[in-house]
Amino acid sequence: MPTNRRAAPALVALLVALALPAAARAEPGPVLSDYPDDDGKALLVEWPAPAAAEPAGTKYDIEIADADAPDRTGPAAKLPAGTRYAEDLPEVYGFGAGRARYAVKIDRAPPAAEGDAAADLTPGRSYVVLLTRIEPDGTRTTLGRSAAAVPKGDLFDTRKINNIVFLLLFGGALVWLTEQARRNPEGMFVRRIPGLEALDEAVGRATEMGRPVFFVHGLAGISSISTVAAVNILGKVGEKIAEYGTAFRVTNRDPVVMAISEETVKESYLRAGRPDLYRDESIVYVSDDQFAYAAAVEGMMVREKPASNLFFGYFFAESLLLTETGAATGAIQIAGTDAYTQLPFFITTCDYTLMGEELYAASAYLSRNPKLLASLKTMDAGKAAILAYLLAGALLTTLGVPFLRNLATVF
């Protein structure tokens, strides 16, 4: 023990210097903040991860309490050490955030009373969290209580900026190409779509044979784009049928689609100058049950033996039942669907099949309206752009630069 007077302050200084790193090594508490880009029912808890690996079996326990009653806590989250780092929330921290920090989303509020179940967090209400580490032997070490934070709803989801930019670019291209189409309608080339070209042939065949044309809607309602496309085709087919005076049957699985089909066909007959030929009983609601619909339409096909069957819309398992029965009756069949699972069945049993976007192109193809043709061109431009993006992104990702891949992430 030094007895020199100068040595005593030096010794005290040495002792303080030795104590300081220990103080600096004391565990910092959790930081609580509002979870970004949400409806105001979640909070984000962060705390630094220790540099050294934590022993196996270590866990963290997060409890939440109202800021007004910090002692009445409820469970918020429990997680094993080594999981749920900042890098696991790229929508918050971006990609490559690493493992220097834990980041946990919590969305459970403390129970209102003892024994109550957990509820959602209330936007605008102030909460605090208590973070505890549980060692493998069960020892609990309180790491700290956070400052209060308030969850709030956000008016714009910044995670979807990539989505809105794409939509604006696509919309901008649509506007520009529509203007180009208006100035030069002859310049809008569209390749031949055999299925749509064959519609005239199908109606003509039915007229010659004196047998009806069956138009079979898919199972989806009017909110499905494929049904809208089917109604477009129905309008054009109806006009042709009215001109030729051919018998016509339109089967529907949805009452709203039936009502729209009635109006569409009535308009078609009116445009063709043959409103007297329109019959209400041509457009029938069959059933909203999948196989009842299929059974009924098949029965109609077998009894009435249509010369042409047109299947347009979204189909499920009944597609093969319908088309195979139609093929057995000797009808010419044209199908169009965006249900990729049913495309193989239509291709094998129908004479012509419109696949996916060819169905959506029908209204533009049949009407040759410049505005509609412009939307086809926009689809093609979008596809070209996406193809280029895919190639560039795949190449860059292979070279270890995932920027383009990350940019296209959907959250």
Binding site: G153, I222, E267, R271, E281, V284, G299, L320, T348
Partner: protein
């Protein structure tokens, strides 16, 4: 007016539906939920349109003794039977909660009809698919062109590779089957999705901005 009001409604609803996807605030999401609920209620009322059309069409056919009127009579009988069973509701009437079984566990008439008539009929229709697939395959899988030959070969590999006898013939068959499903099939599926996705966006924009008007009943 007859066309302008629906176009305005379509534009407003379309714009709302699009914008609300980018607004996570609870008020926007609650508004969207309410709109979806209204849509379901309107669709439920639309069911009466369909029922009316169905009943009147088949009653007319029975009255006029048109070809196949017997089937219409069967349909009307089945329709009436289900309606009566549903309204009976196990003896509790149409305004009580749905009753599926009596206290002793016996199914109510509605449940019995659903379980022992409707479901077996649906299952029967579904089971016919296997035979229809076989007949479609027999008729279609002819190697007339290069693409048809490719289709035939791929179909044979997948069909045999998916059943245990495929692995017995050669362990490479199931692997080749899986490769066909994972690589060329998945690639084409994604290509179709890509085209379909862009088509949906383009058609939706056409409807929202009033360029596409077929849903109004005509051009």
């Amino acid at each position: 007016m007859k066309r302008t009001v629906p176009l305005i409604v379509a534009f407003t609803a379309g714009l709302f539906g699009c914008l609300v996807q980018y607004v996570p605030h609870a008020a926007a999401q609650d508004a969207l939920s309410a709109a979806v609920t209204w849509d379901r209620i309107i669709a439920a009322f639309a069911a009466f349109l369909g029922i009316g059309s169905l009943v009147f069409a088949h009653v007319r056919r029975v009255e006029r003794r048109q070809a196949g009127w017997g089937y219409s009579a069967v349909l009307l009988f089945g329709f009436a039977l289900m309606v009566v069973a549903g309204l009976y509701n196990g003896g509790t009437g149409p305004f009580a909660a749905e009753v599926n079984a009596y206290p002793d566990g016996t199914p109510t008439p509605m449940t019995w009809l659903f379980r022992y008539v409707l479901k077996p009929a649906s299952a029967t229709m579904f089971s016919i698919l296997a035979f229809f697939m076989a007949s479609a395959a027999y008729r279609t899988f002819r190697a007339r062109t290069v693409s048809a030959a490719l289709l035939l070969t791929a179909a044979l590999i997948v069909m045999i590779g998916r059943v245990p006898v495929g692995a017995w013939i050669s362990p490479a068959l199931p692997e080749l089957t899986q490769w066909l499903m994972d690589v060329p099939n998945a690639a084409v599926k994604r290509a179709i999705f890509l085209g379909t996705g862009l088509g949906v966006i383009a058609t939706s924009l056409r409807i929202v901005f009033g360029v596409e008007r077929a849903y109004l009943g005509g051009d």
